[in-house]
């Protein structure tokens, strides 16, 4: 059965998936900006 994840966990998975594309700080920054833009 598929695990049901919180949005926080989905974002963690997203970070792990993209962690090799850039340094950790840049990725954290992009995710922060994305979360802010989703508030609009």
């Amino acid at each position: 059965m598929e695990e049901i994840k919180s949005v926080e966990m989905l974002f963690e998975d997203l970070k792990n998936k993209h962690k090799n594309e850039m340094d950790e700080e840049s990725l954290e920054m992009i995710i922060d900006e994305m979360i802010f833009s989703l508030l609009f």
């Binding site: 049901i4 989905l10 997203l14 992009i30 922060d32 989703l38």
Partner: protein
């Protein structure tokens, strides 16, 4: 950056920096505030340039070869729609000429019962309670949710890249600074804009004031920490843009209690860390000018939409650098002579003593917001006339 462009860029930045410090530059800097105006001026549509960011740059290149400017305030919410599309959300915002604006009533998914959760941990509340309500596709937390979030991430990365490229080319090829490095909000404004809507927030202030105050405080710290992570190296000549919404709708007595402390806290946190903050005073702030004396010392700027700018400068010019003055209604409907006469009066009244930046009173959105010939004539006049 080419050395001749570097010289032009540096001159413009230095001009603004002196004005930001409420000092006197070589002449009054001219700030251009627009979103899609240059695009339409070049006969392009929002749809076209949002599909091809290079066309947006071309519109800047043509427009600012015809109209003299010293800098652009920022870019606006460009390229953001695909992020919402990826999360199947089409109900909480309104697309106006390619720009995303939120829809007050239907975009506020927070209930009164959610206050305690938001106060306890704003980040946790936003991610795990607010987003699943706003974006139904995230509610199930399954593979479909993960795929939607992945699509939204890719759309966001594209959006970010398009923004960075437009900023990079405008600054490095045209030599025109773009000042806003990030957008921030105060806690009360976040509650109004994103969570509770106007009706909700006014009711909350009256019925559950303590929860409103605690939530505003929690959001103030939460958003400032995020913004200082995103824009972690304050630069001279660039600012954090802080639009102000709720304040001017409150009675002065309520303003003092429910808005001013949070605005002052933000200003203190940013200026203490050497950031320049540009407050966008939306609506008429004339009744609240006396409170500006409580602002901390630092590089604080204010764009004013309404009010007599000359009186505003006299009253608060010792605390903040004043931006604005030229009514877009005049630029739209006045004759060239009337516009130049108006610009002369504004310069004569606001420029003495420095700490003043010439601009429009509102952002130029559609082509109707300002006649090209009038804008060009006014900027040529200010360039020649407003020398110290």
């Amino acid at each position: 950056m080419d050395s001749s462009i570097q010289t032009i860029y540096t001159e413009k930045i230095d001009r603004f920096n002196l004005a930001f410090k409420r000092d006197t530059p070589d002449r009054v800097p001219i700030l251009f505030m627009s979103e899609m105006w240059p695009v339409h001026h070049c006969g392009l549509s929002a749809e076209k340039v949002l599909k091809n960011p290079l066309l947006f740059y071309k519109a800047f290149e043509k427009t600012f070869s015809e109209i003299y400017i010293d800098g652009l305030y920022g870019l606006g919410n460009l390229w953001i729609k695909p992020i919402f599309d990826a999360l199947n959300n089409s109900g909480s915002y309104k697309l106006t000429d390619g720009i995303v604006n939120y829809e007050d009533k239907i975009s506020c998914y927070m209930d009164v019962d959610d206050y305690n959760s938001l106060i306890k941990n704003p980040g946790h509340y936003i991610l795990n309670e607010f987003f699943p309500k706003k974006f139904k596709v995230l509610e199930s937390g399954d593979t479909i949710s993960a795929q939607a979030l992945e699509h939204a991430y890719n759309a966001f990365v594209n959006y970010r890249q398009a923004n960075l490229e437009l900023i990079d080319k405008t600054e490095n090829v045209l030599g025109i600074p773009i000042f806003a490095r990030t957008l921030a909000f105060s806690g009360p404004d976040m509650l109004l804009d994103y969570f509770r809507g106007f009706e909700g927030i006014i009711t909350d202030i009256n019925r559950i004031p303590q929860l409103f105050l605690k939530a505003s405080s929690a959001l103030n710290l939460f958003i400032t920490n995020i913004k200082m992570r995103i824009y972690n190296t304050p630069e001279d000549g660039h600012f954090i843009l802080l639009p102000l919404h709720l304040g001017s709708y409150l009675k002065p007595k309520d303003f003092e209690k429910y808005y001013l402390p949070f605005l002052n806290q933000l200003l203190e946190m940013y200026t203490k860390n050497n950031y320049t903050v540009c407050l966008f005073f939306e609506n008429d702030w004339t009744p609240y000018l006396e409170y500006f004396d409580s602002f901390p010392d630092g590089k604080i700027l204010g764009i004013f939409e309404y009010g007599d700018l000359s009186k505003i400068k006299k009253k608060v010019g010792h605390k903040i650098c004043i931006i604005g003055g030229m009514p877009i209604s005049q630029l739209s409907y006045g004759t060239k002579k009337e516009c130049i006469d108006m610009a002369k009066r504004i310069i004569d009244e606001c420029a003495p003593g420095g700490g003043y930046i010439f601009s429009t009173d509102k952002i130029l959105l559609s082509l109707d917001d300002g006649c090209f010939e009038n804008i060009r004539a006014v900027h040529e006049f200010v360039y020649d006339y407003a020398k110290y």
